[in-house]
């Protein structure tokens, strides 16, 4: 029973990362119709920035939680301006190939320098130790991650669903051309939204650093499952990304009780079944054309 409770919390903690990553993917896909394969690489870079800040400058976790996403967001905007913009309107395959290539460049570049061995990064002192939840004691830091990601996800949901900016983003996500014809300058928002999506990935990376070792391959392990999350939630759906993120986290952790190998099977079985009965995903409304 206790073990089940622990796995449930672990699932929520893992789901937190899926939620943040797939939120970024959803925003980027919605605005640009690009499946950003490089998302995991930027998650990894976010973790490495936190690591460097500590090693080189003695800058701790809390400032890193702000700095790393900002740095990656700016880098992302640059990337969009210089490269991805040229791929707009072409077959989505080009965007996929570009971001896939970029992943290899970033990942292997980091691997040349750091090898595949993980670097440890410790949780801030305030969050170390454990909390007693009923009968089980659970790491404080993981609870913090769950709470933080929930709040961040809901904040993103609020901005997209309840503000004027979000309204334009939703309109552009559904029908970019029509939205332009209504006088809304969709293209002005593409660069910042791409930066924002990558910033969320970097944020997830910093949060992951104390839980998982900081290593060049940490993103590639996560990104495949995250794509499954995106499909389950519905391409481009904000609420779908959040719900599916936590759902997949919990299901795979609980599945792992039976056998660690079940973890991945559960997720992809869910995805396969969902694709059969509801191809647009839990919350999906986008028809890709």
């Amino acid at each position: 029973m206790d073990y089940l409770a622990v796995q449930l919390f672990n699932g929520l903690a893992n789901g937190s990362f899926y939620a943040l990553l797939s939120l970024g993917l959803a925003v980027i896909f919605g605005m640009m119709r690009i499946v950003n394969f490089a998302h995991g690489a930027f998650y990894m870079l976010g973790a490495f920035i936190a690591y460097f800040l500590l090693q080189q400058a003695g800058v701790g976790f809390w400032p890193a939680l702000v700095i790393a996403p900002l740095v990656i967001a700016v880098a992302g905007m640059f990337l969009e301006r210089v490269f991805l913009r040229r791929l707009a309107g072409l077959d989505p395959l080009y965007g996929f190939l570009f971001t896939f290539g970029l992943t290899l460049v970033i990942q292997d570049g980091m691997r040349l320098r750091f090898g595949v061995q993980g670097q440890p990064y410790s949780a801030p002192a305030e969050l170390s130790g454990t909390v007693l939840l009923g009968a089980v004691s659970y790491p404080t830091y993981r609870l913090f991650v769950v709470a933080f990601c929930l709040v961040a996800s809901i904040a993103v949901w609020f901005v997209i669903e309840r503000t004027r900016l979000g309204m334009a983003v939703r309109a552009a996500t559904e029908r970019a051309d029509l939205t332009r014809a209504l006088g809304v300058d969709v293209d002005r928002w593409i660069t910042p939204m791409f930066g924002f999506g990558l910033g969320l990935a970097a944020l997830a990376g910093v949060l992951a650093a104390p839980m998982r070792n900081v290593s060049p391959l940490m993103g590639s392990e996560l990104i495949i499952l995250t794509f499954a999350v995106v499909v389950i939630g519905g391409m481009g759906s904000i609420a779908g990304a959040i719900v599916a993120g936590f759902l997949v986290g919990v299901l795979s952790s609980v599945g792992a009780i039976f056998d660690p190998a079940v973890e991945g099977i559960v997720v992809f079985a869910l995805m396969a079944v969902l694709l059969l009965v509801r191809p647009s995903g839990l919350f999906g409304s986008i028809e890709t054309r």
């Binding site: 004027r164 309204m167 334009a168 939703r170 309109a171 996500t173 559904e174 029908r175 051309d177 029509l178 939205t179 332009r180 014809a181 209504l182 006088g183 809304v184 300058d185 969709v186 293209d187 409304s285």
Partner: protein, 230 residues
Amino acid sequence: MLEVSGLDAWYGEAQALRDVSIRAAAGEVVTLMGRNGAGKTTALRCVMGLHSSMRGSVRLGDADLGALGPVQRARAGLGYVPDDRGIYATLTVEEHLILPPRAADSAWDVERVYAAFPALRARRGQYASKLSGGERQMLAIARVLLMGSRLLLLDEPTEGLAPILVQQIAAILRDAKAEGRTVLLVEQNLRFATAVADRHYLLSQGTIVATLGNDEVRARESEVLQHLGI
């Protein structure tokens, strides 16, 4: 006001429009008629700047729209109602009305829209995917009225609507005309077309084959109907 000349358009290798020229003065309502696949929708999309595989010139007043994208065209005073109404499933009714920036001071504000279409007021907070076909059309038209567009591009606005709504749209178009707005209307319903419009362009296989006044359309009704494939 609107001056389209020598318009050619393609889908890949297939030419959809050939040397199409359309003029409409301020306060004039002209229709574009033709059977399915004649190129009516393509022509409206070219005017709006949504179809890039084209050649020819599109002018609004003194301004050459050729180099402008759809965003600038909308801001220059073009208002487009697409054939599928262009309603967003993820926006509420009210959000549809506040999304487009105002291109000009307009006689319409959100209150006037709700007064004219009480059904929209009743559903203002709902997602527009819940609207009926008629309500969607009302919303799509209200949207361009709010923008204050000088030139309205309407693609089959009465298709599938109840007679009472068709009359309401006719009244709106007459008001727009009285305010000096120009309307380019794609329409298959001859009675509606002759009731609201001044002139009619007959499009066949991507080419304008006739320009008719209301009297001519009525006099040659069977011939025109044959052209429309009805």
